[in-house]
C-alpha cells in the first residue's frame, strides 16, 4: 500500500520538539515539518491535528502491514462500498430465508428462470449468510477497532497537550485567518477579548499576547463513540448466535389447550384466539365489498412454568401460572426473556372429543353417553348393558392402494373409530361398528353401508351425537413465534451509543481560535471540524465586541469547507 505522506526522516522541529514518524505538523508549535509543505501557501492538513497515526513506522513488519491495512480509512471506505453493493445484490430476488418450506435448488429456476438459477448458483439466494458477506462485516469490525485505536490516542494526546503559542505559518495557513493591525498593549487586548469569548462558551488560555480559545472539544470524540457503539452492536449480533442465548420457534397453539414449549420448562395456553375484520362502516366507500382488512389478531394467552415432574414423560407435569397477556401483533407476551409473538392463525376447527350415545334404532331407546377423545381415548366404554371396545382408530380416514383403511395424516381431519360391541341380542363374539364423528365423513365414507356390511341385517345399534354441546373442538389454532434473545439488550446498548456519538459528532463542532498579537499586528487563525459558515459569523461577532470590525467573507482563507 502506498502512503500519502512521505516519511520524513528528520522529525525534530526547530522549536526543539521531537515528533514521531508520520507527523505532519509539529506537535508543539504546529509548524509544518515537510520542507515542501513549508513553502506552500495552501491550507494546512488539520486532520487529527497533523499528528502521526500510531501505526506509522519506518520499517513495517508483517504485523504492521496488516495493522496498517485495517487502519486505512481508504480501505474502510472500500469495505463500506463493497458491503453496500453486496447488500444490493441480495435484494434482486427474495432470499431463501423468506420462505418457510422450499427446495431452493429448484425454486429459483422454476420461478425466475435462468436468471434465478444463476442467482441461486452464485449463492446470492443466501447473500447475507454467505462467507464473503460475513467476512466483509468482520473486516468492517476490524477496521472500526483499528482505525479508531490508531487515531483516537494520538488525537487525545495532541488535544490535551496543546501549546498556546503557535508558529506564524500554522496560523496563517488555517482556513479562517485574520491579519490586521491592533494598536494596543497585547496583554490588555487579549484579556479584553477573553470576555466575549468566554461568554460564547469558549475556554480561554493566554500566554502574553498569545491566546487559545476552544470549545466543544467533546465533539471530536463523536466518531469514535459511534465506532465503539458499532463494535458493541456487531459483537452483540455475533453473541446472539451462541448456544443458549437464542431460541426461535414457530408453534401451533390450539384454542383451549395447554401446549408445551419445547426446550423450555414453559407451557402456554391459548385461551381464546380472536380475529376481527373491519366492518363496511369503518372502511372508505371505495373499498366496501371489495377489500377485507383485518382489524385485530389476538391470542389470550396464559404462560405456565413447570414446577415438578417436568422431564419425565410418564408423569403429568405440575404447572403454575406465571404470566397472562393478550398477545397482539405489536404486543408480544414477555416473561423473563421469553417472548411470544402473534405470527399466524388457522380458523379450521379441530375436533377434540365427542360424546356419542348408543341408541337402539329400532326402539329409539338410548343407553347413555360416553366421552370419546380423539387423542389417547379410553379403550372400553360402557353404555347401558353394552360394552364397546375400541379396536382401531384413524385420525384422517382413507383407503390405501390395497383398499385397506389407513390414516392419511396424524391430524384429526376425518376421524374414524372401529368398535367391537358386545351385549344383549348381539352375537357372542360381538358386533363390529364403524363410527365417523363428523357428519360429512359419515356421508362421504358411507358409514351406514359399512356397518350394514359388518353387522348384517339384524343390526339395531347406532352411535349418535345428540347435540352440539356433546361435541368439543378447538375453534381455531393460533401460531405463535416463541423467541428468546438474551443478547438483545447489548444490541440496544450498541445502537444507543452509536446514536449518542452521532449527536455529539454532528450537532456540535469543535472550534478553536489561536491568536498572537505582536508588534501591533494581530494574527488570528481558526479551526473547526464543521460549519465554517457559523464559525466565521461567531468570530466576527466576538471581534465586534472589542471594536474590530471585519467582514465574514474576508476571514475565509479559501477552502473553508467541511
Amino acid at each position: 500500500m502506498n502512503r500519502r505522506e512521505p516519511l520524513v526522516s528528520n522529525t525534530k522541529c526547530e522549536c526543539g520538539h521531537q515528533n514521531p514518524v508520520g507527523t505532519v505538523l509539529c506537535e508543539a508549535c504546529g509548524k509544518p515539518l515537510d520542507e515542501k509543505d513549508r513553502e506552500s501557501a495552501d491550507n494546512l492538513e488539520m486532520r487529527y491535528d497533523g499528528v502521526a497515526r500510531r501505526s506509522q513506522r519506518v520499517n513495517p513488519g508483517i504485523i504492521d502491514l496488516i495493522w496498517n491495512f485495517f487502519s486505512s480509512v481508504k480501505i474502510a471506505i472500500y469495505l463500506i462500498v463493497l458491503t453496500l453493493l453486496g447488500s444490493m445484490l441480495g435484494t434482486i430476488f427474495p432470499q431463501e430465508s423468506t420462505f418457510l418450506n422450499i427446495d431452493a435448488s429448484t425454486y429459483y429456476k422454476e420461478t425466475y428462470g435462468t436468471a434465478g438459477n444463476i442467482y441461486y448458483r452464485l449463492g446470492l439466494s443466501h447473500t447475507y449468510e454467505s462467507w464473503w458477506f460475513v467476512t466483509l462485516l468482520v473486516m468492517i469490525g476490524a477496521s472500526l477497532v483499528i482505525c479508531s485505536l490508531d487515531r483516537v490516542l494520538p488525537l487525545y494526546k495532541a488535544l490535551t497537550r496543546q501549546k498556546i503559542r503557535k508558529h506564524r505559518q500554522f496560523l496563517t495557513r488555517q482556513k479562517v485567518v485574520l491579519v490586521t493591525k491592533v494598536e494596543e498593549e497585547p496583554e490588555v487586548w487579549v484579556a479584553r477579548l477573553s470576555e466575549p469569548l468566554k461568554k460564547k462558551g469558549y475556554r480561554v488560555k493566554t500566554d502574553g499576547g498569545a491566546l487559545l480559545a476552544e470549545k466543544h472539544r467533546f465533539s471530536r470524540w463523536g466518531p469514535y463513540v459511534i465506532h465503539i457503539g458499532l463494535i458493541i452492536f456487531l459483537l452483540a449480533v455475533l453473541a446472539r448466535g451462541l448456544p443458549g442465548l437464542n431460541m426461535d420457534q414457530h408453534l401451533a397453539f390450539q384454542q383451549g389447550e395447554v401446549t408445551k414449549i419445547p426446550d423450555t420448562t414453559y407451557y402456554l395456553k391459548n385461551e381464546k384466539f380472536t380475529v376481527e375484520f373491519y366492518t363496511d362502516d369503518e372502511m372508505p366507500e371505495e373499498f366496501r365489498g371489495k377489500k377485507v382488512l383485518p382489524k385485530l389478531y389476538e391470542t389470550k394467552a396464559v404462560l405456565y412454568e413447570c414446577t415438578a415432574d417436568c422431564i419425565d414423560p410418564s408423569k403429568e407435569p405440575k404447572l403454575s401460572e406465571v404470566a397472562v397477556h393478550d398477545i397482539r401483533v405489536n404486543s408480544p407476551l414477555s416473561y423473563k426473556g421469553l417472548k411470544a409473538y402473534q405470527f399466524d392463525y388457522d380458523l379450521t376447527p379441530v375436533l377434540r372429543s365427542v360424546q356419542p350415545e348408543l341408541v337402539n334404532s329400532a326402539t329409539g331407546e338410548g343407553y347413555g353417553k360416553f366421552k370419546l377423545d380423539m387423542k389417547n381415548p379410553q379403550r372400553t366404554f360402557q353404555s347401558g348393558p353394552y360394552t364397546l371396545s375400541l379396536k382401531e382408530k384413524y385420525m384422517d380416514f382413507g383407503l390405501n392402494d390395497e383398499g385397506q383403511p389407513v390414516s392419511k395424516s396424524p391430524y384429526p381431519n376425518a376421524p374414524a373409530f372401529l368398535f367391537l360391541i358386545t351385549g344383549p341380542d348381539l352375537p357372542a363374539e360381538g358386533q363390529q361398528y364403524f363410527y365417523f364423528p363428523k357428519q360429512v365423513d359419515k356421508e362421504q365414507f358411507q358409514q351406514q353401508a359399512i356397518n350394514d356390511k359388518l353387522g348384517g341385517s339384524g343390526r339395531f345399534l347406532e352411535l349418535e351425537v345428540q347435540g352440539m354441546s356433546d361435541v368439543d373442538f378447538a375453534e381455531s389454532t393460533s401460531y405463535l413465534n416463541i423467541r428468546v434473545d438474551r443478547a438483545m439488550p447489548f444490541v440496544w446498548v450498541g445502537a444507543g451509543i452509536v446514536m449518542l456519538g452521532l449527536v455529539l459528532g454532528f450537532y456540535w463542532q469543535h472550534r478553536r481560535i489561536w491568536l498572537n498579537l505582536e508588534n501591533g499586528e494581530l494574527v488570528l487563525g481558526g479551526h473547526t471540524n464543521k460549519n465554517w459558515f457559523g464559525f466565521r459569523r461567531e468570530i466576527v461577532s466576538i471581534l465586534y465586541k472589542v471594536d474590530v470590525i471585519v467582514d465574514e467573507k474576508s476571514l475565509d482563507n479559501g477552502g473553508g469547507l467541511a
Binding site: 504492521d64 460475513v134 455475533l238 381415548p377 379396536k391 390405501n400
Partner: protein, 174 residues
C-alpha cells in the same frame, strides 16, 4: 506506549481473527443445530410403549438405528419388515433398532405394531421434541449412530433390506 505496542497489536489482531473466524464459521457451516454425519447424536427422553422412559444413554456402547416413523406414512409402513429383519439379525451383535413414533397416541402405535408385527423397542415422541433436536422434516428418516454416540449416517426416505444391512454392517465393523 512504545514498547507495548507490538504485543497489543498482536493481541487485538488475534482477538479479531478469533471472533471473525467464529462469525464466518457459524454462518457458513450451519448453525441450525441439526446433527450431521459425524456430529454427536442429541440425547432424548421419551416414553416407551412399555410405560417407561427411555433415553439414548441406555444404549451406550451399542450401535443404534434410530428410525422416525408415523403410522400414516406409507414408506414408513413399507420399510418396517426390513427393520424387523435387521433387528432380528443384528440384535445379538450389539445393535439396537429403535422406532420413534412422531406425534401419535399410544393406541395408534400399539395397533400399528400389532399390524406390522414388529418387536423392536418403540418410543413415542408426542411433543415432537426429538424431531426438533434431530431436525427431522420428512418421514421416514433414519439415523445410524455408532458405539461412540456419533451420527454415522443419515438416511431420508424408505429403507430397503440390502442397503440397511450394508449400513448396519458398516456401523458394527467400521
Amino acid at each position: 506506549m512504545g514498547k507495548a505496542r507490538k504485543p497489543i497489536q498482536i493481541i487485538i489482531l488475534s482477538v479479531i481473527l478469533l471472533l471473525g473466524g467464529y462469525a464466518i464459521g457459524s454462518s457458513v457451516f450451519g448453525g441450525d443445530g441439526k446433527p450431521r454425519e459425524g456430529s454427536k447424536a442429541p440425547s432424548f427422553e421419551l416414553l416407551g410403549l412399555d410405560g417407561l422412559t427411555h433415553t439414548l444413554d441406555e444404549y451406550k456402547g451399542k450401535s443404534v438405528v434410530l428410525n422416525f416413523w408415523g403410522s400414516w406414512c406409507g414408506p414408513c409402513v413399507k420399510e418396517m419388515p426390513a427393520l424387523q429383519a435387521q433387528w432380528e439379525k443384528w440384535k445379538d451383535q450389539g445393535v439396537v433398532v429403535i422406532g420413534v413414533n412422531v406425534g401419535e397416541d399410544q393406541m395408534t402405535v400399539e395397533n400399528f405394531i400389532k399390524l406390522v408385527d414388529i418387536d423392536f423397542p418403540v418410543v413415542m415422541d408426542s411433543g415432537r421434541s426429538a424431531v426438533r433436536s434431530y431436525g427431522v422434516s420428512p418421514l421416514p428418516t433414519t439415523f445410524f449412530i455408532n458405539t461412540k454416540g456419533k451420527v454415522d449416517s443419515i438416511h431420508i426416505g424408505q429403507l430397503d433390506l440390502d442397503s440397511l444391512d450394508g449400513q448396519i454392517g458398516k456401523l458394527v465393523n467400521p
